[in-house]
Structures are given as C-alpha cells and as structure tokens.
Amino acid sequence: MHKRAGMGMLRKIKVFYLNVKSLLVGMKVTFKNMFAPRVTLQYPQEKQPMKENFRGMVDLIPEDCVICYQCIRICPTAALDLGHKQIIVDEKKKNEITKFTFNTELCCFCGLCEEICPTEAIFLNKMYEVAAFRHEDLLKIDLMDAQKYKHLDKNYIFKKKE
C-alpha cells in the first residue's frame, strides 16, 4: 500500500517534470526562431517581383487581335465585351473593333482568355495593385487604349508579355 502510494507520488512528479519540460522545449523553439532570418517584406517599399506567368489585369495588344470572339466565349464571368464592324479600306473588306471593354468587377482572373487566344493578343499583365477611388473606374476599362490602367497605377506602361 505504502509502496503504491510512493509510486503514485513518483509518477506524479515525473508527469510534472515532463509537463514543465514540454513547455520549456516550446520556449526553446521560439527562442531559436528569434534569430532565424526574417521572412516578411516591408511591403510598400519592398516589392516581390511577379512570377513569369502571373495573372494580373487583362491587357490587350489591339493590332494582334483577329476578332475571333474566343475569349468572349470562354470567359466564365462575362467580364469581357467585344464588338466589331466591317469597314472598307482600299477596297478591301476589313474588320474593325468598335469596343473591347473589360469589367474588373466580374473578372475572376482565371486566365482562360489568355490561354485560348490564338494570336496571344489578350494576356494578363503583372499589375496587382488595383485600388480605385470610384467604383466606375473599374467597370468599363477600354482595352484598346494604351493608357488603360493609368488611372489605377500611375506607373503603368503598356508592355507586351515576354
């Protein structure tokens, strides 16, 4: 009886010791991490370069577009709007885009339009900071305009995808 009580006490002390040890082991982990390299960036000052095929805002090279309407068909959210008309230049029939707009509000940045485009005219650029002061600024972005995202990002320059 006495022996068992003694064993119980010993066991309790052992459990207590193990408990305290487990806490100290955890403290050791956090202590080690105090000297580990930092993993964060000071965001507005430091920026991570975007990856090669990053999917940002939809962009267009107007002269490459052949008006095949593939992107309009594939877009799952109806974010793109395209219209065209026939004109005659030098007695040759030619198609001209009347409107090609992009609705940021609906876009889900899936990149399907970029993938399906036969001439790689439509693509997703590397812009990711897309805050605007007015709701309307994001609704109808004219993709034919080379300055299309100037109102969202003053450093925006139209650039073809590498």
Partner: protein, 157 residues
C-alpha cells in the same frame, strides 16, 4: 457486388418496389423508401454511409438521388426515387443516417422538396423568409449576369 446483384436482392426482398430499369442506379418507388433504406443499412450489405442526397429537376418530375456507401463492399449505390411535381414530399431518412439531416435540408432549400418527419425542416443556405427554390430549372431572376450570346459571332480566323 455490383448493381445487378443488388437489384436482384432487392427484387426478392421487396417485390414490386423497383421502379423503371436504370443502368446506373436502383430506382425504387417513393412509398417504400424508408423500408428499403432500413434494409440496406442493416442488412449484410451494410450501407453505413449516406454520402450524398441531391435532386435533379427533370422539369416534368423531380428526381431524388441518394448515394449510399458501404465500407464493407466498397460499393457506391445510387438510389433514386421520382417525385411528381405536384407532390414534392417524401419521408426523411434522418432517422437512419444522421448525415441525412443537413443534406435533406439543403435539398429542401434548393429544390423545395419537403421531407416528412424531419427534425429540423428549415432552409439551410438561403434566408428563411425567402420563397424561391433556386436550383429548379424554372428559377430565373432579372439580375442574373448572363454570358453573352456568341452564336455565329465571328469576324476573323
């Protein structure tokens, strides 16, 4: 175990409950659902798991689909019943499988099929005061964003 065997067992045990022939599912009559379900759960096949309950709106009728799973047989049974559009009510299975509780509530919410004797027959995803059933084929709203009609639209190659 495959579907033929199971159909045979069910035919022997419950003559006359099987509805029309179906290659992928066992179709039974609505009235005998509870009986058959209890049999499937407690018999040797041991369909312990009611994996999924859903419905398909076939316009003229409503198709209620139960996916039962048996760990023992490693077999997924698709059990179907058809409901007439004017009588969308069926006995609940939540007394047999607890998982039926929420799954049936979801079907009620999206299709408007009432489950009789269900412990908590409320809408689950949509607001309770709403009266529409969104997954029915005739459900439509003017504020849906529709994909553009692009049939025949093509200019270049």
């Amino acid at each position: 175990m495959d579907l033929q065997e199971l159909t045979k067992i069910l035919n022997e045990r419950f003559p006359g409950v099987l509805g029309e022939e179906n290659k992928t599912a066992v179709v039974i009559k609505k009235e005998s659902l509870l009986e058959v379900a209890r049999f499937l759960r407690e018999d040797d096949c041991a369909f312990e798991n009611l994996h999924c309950v859903t419905a398909v709106d076939r316009r003229d009728k409503m198709e209620l689909v139960y996916h039962l799973y048996s760990f023992k047989l490693k077999f997924m049974l698709t059990l179907k019943i058809y409901l007439a559009s004017d009588d969308l009510a069926v006995e609940t299975l939540s007394g047999i499988w607890k998982s039926a509780n929420w799954l049936e509530r979801e079907v009620y919410d999206l299709f408007g099929i009432k489950f009789l004797n269900h412990p908590d027959m409320r809408r689950i995803l949509n607001p309770e005061e709403w009266t529409d059933y969104p997954l029915r084929k005739d459900f439509d709203r003017p504020d849906f964003i529709r994909l553009p009609q692009t049939e025949g639209l093509k200019a270049g190659g």
